[in-house]
Amino acid sequence: MSMKILVTVTEVAEVEDEFEVAGDDIAEQYLEYDLNEWDDYAIEEAVQISEENDDVEVVTATIGPERSEETIRMALAKGADRAVRVWDDAIESADYLDTDSKADLLAAVVEEEDPDLVLSGVQSADEANGATGVTLAEKIGFQWAAVVNDLDLDIEGGVASVHRELEGGVEELTDVESPAVLTIQSGINEPRYASLRGIRQAQQKPLDVKTIDDVGLDESVVDSPLAQTSMYEPESEGDATIWSGGPEEEAEQLAEFLRDKGVVDA
């Protein structure tokens, strides 16, 4: 029984310790781009399923500029079979690409690919909306489960038995009917490092680039009733006393504090 898993993969921006905001975003020179941590777990989960079962294809779908191909190749190097990247000028120049627009674009890819299972990270590390996966599920008429940290897939029976990681060290055990979108929580597995062989092979794997038009939508898909009007560094609420003077002196001050406080006798 053949199966296709689609994994949504996003490139995220990480900010250096020291940075400046320029206009409505952090100045480019302080940003570094990487594969979204949660998507790394989603890729690993899909690749593990493909290794444990016959005839499973893993396809990644990304909304991102050319730069993000580095991230996509990373997913291919870890074992995904091929990739789709959606981008064009209209997306590039969109004022605010909201969850609805992203999910519309991904839904168009899903309709073309017709997967049996969609895995998505719980959230992106930079924007952290945490909503694309479930919005996508609702758009494509799939069932879903959010914040999954354990997955047992019954491919024949069409049921995904998942654990949803709730707050306070409690997990909810849920059976979800396929086809489904599962948003994957960090810690569900141990994402592999790409091997040199994997990285070499990834260069040969198909990576299709599609425009809004190619996926059968028109430019209005990027319109949004939401607009980001400002970005700023929050004023520090902190008033911590900073111990200084080098490691030895700092350790001495901390030690003295701990003794005064009575939590350490030594």
């Binding site: 900010v15 310790d17 905001v21 409505d24 952090i26 969850t99 609805d100 930079d126 924007e127 952290a128 945490g130 909503a131 694309t132 996966g133 479930v134 919005t135 758009k139 879903w144 489960a145 959010a146 914040v147 038995s161 654990h163 709730l166 707050e167 306070g168 060290g169 409690v170 997990e171 909810e172 055990l173 849920t174 009917e177 960090s186 810690g187 141990e190 939401l226 607009a227 980001q228 009007t229 970005m231 560094e233 929050p234 520090s236 902190g238 911590a240 006393t241 900073i242 080098g246 490691p247 030895e248 700092e250 901390l254 030690a255 504090f257 701990l258 406080k261 939590v263 350490v264 030594a266």
Partner: protein, 323 residues
């Protein structure tokens, strides 16, 4: 009038604290937009929960009796129908794990713009919400140009509402389509058990991503031994399998309230802070002076943990391991 419908949350027979925060957040939004605050109480012992959330500032409470525990299809259907019936402009849901499981569906079902994990509202003609980005390093303001929206609010950001309210409680007869319920909760599991209960500890030494490698763990263990502290950690350490789940402090782990909490190489992401902000004294050891942990630390050392921790071990006469 721009009315607000705020949704409450419960689990395994108990109202969750976030429900009372939803009352405060909902009142806040209703005041900004000039409307009434309606609450939705869905599934389980709805009358008991309705009584508990009947606090000052609530204008009406609507109960939907259906099943015991949270199911996202039931919640989505009930909230959509109730919002329609009330003509509520704003649907407010908690940015909890369950909130993330149904809020996007409600937004999609009602064709509402969705903004998640909101920490503040303001209105100047149009609604503006504040949310964080880049792991809390910056805040952004998002303007909502429609006069309707679905919004999730960050847990523990608003206070729990107090004061007895006198809102009328009425049963709402939602028409739940069972064929739309395609997931079944089969049980719950406690995962943070075991021999150690960090929530009982008076002195916690807690480590995060800054420890870099599992091979560096013995350094912290030596500090723990020399000071007779209890070892805990932030999420990545448990995700990596370096420590068991019962050591995790934070939203998905344990809430701790020690006399002293030393956060070593922990940036202080909101999910972590949710678990340790009740500590009496917080000491941060982190090279990044902009790390959010310094927003709530009482004392800080902005130096490399690999220099500070060995010095600290020696202060207490311990042996510094080779790492």
């Amino acid at each position: 009038m721009s009315d607000v419908l705020a949704v409450t949350e419960h689990r395994r027979g108990e109202l969750r604290d976030v429900s009372l925060e939803m009352v405060s957040a909902g009142r806040d939004l209703a005041d900004e937009m000039g409307g009434d605050l309606h609450l939705a109480v869905i599934s389980g012992d709805v009358d008991a929960y309705a009584d508990q959330v009947n606090r000052e500032g609530v204008d009406a409470i609507h109960t939907v009796e259906y099943g015991e525990e949270f199911n996202h299809d039931v919640y989505a259907q009930a909230v959509e129908q109730l919002a329609d019936d009330l003509d509520a402009e704003y649907v407010l849901m908690p940015n909890s794990v369950n909130g993330l499981d149904y809020a996007p569906a409600v937004a999609e079902g009602l064709s509402l713009p969705l903004v998640t994990d909101v920490v503040d509202f303001s209105a100047d003609g149009e609604l503006e919400v504040t949310r964080e980005q880049y792991g809390g390093k910056v805040e952004t303001t998002i303007e909502v140009s429609e006069d309707r929206a679905a919004i999730t609010t960050r847990p523990a950001e608003w206070p729990q509402a107090e004061g007895q309210g006198d809102a009328e409680v009425s049963a709402f007869d939602a028409d739940i389509d069972e064929s739309q319920i395609q997931s079944t909760v089969t049980g719950f599991e406690e995962v943070a058990g075991g021999d150690v209960d960090i929530s009982e500890a008076e002195f916690l030494v807690s480590i995060g991503r800054g420890i870099e490698e599992e091979e560096n763990l013995p350094l912290i263990e030596a500090l723990v031994e020399a000071t007779d502290a209890t070892l805990s950690s932030s999420r990545p350490i448990v995700d990596n399998g370096w420590l068991p789940a019962n050591r995790q402090v934070g939203q998905s782990g344990k809430v701790v309230t020690p006399d002293v909490y030393i956060a070593i190489g922990i940036s202080g992401a909101v999910q972590h802070v949710a678990g340790m902000k009740g500590a009496d004294t917080i000491v941060a050891i982190n090279t990044d002076p902009n790390a959010p942990i310094y927003d709530l630390a009482d004392y800080g050392i902005e130096d490399d943990l690999f220099d500070v921790v060995p010095a600290l071990i020696e202060e207490f006469g311990g042996e510094v391991p080779d790492v």
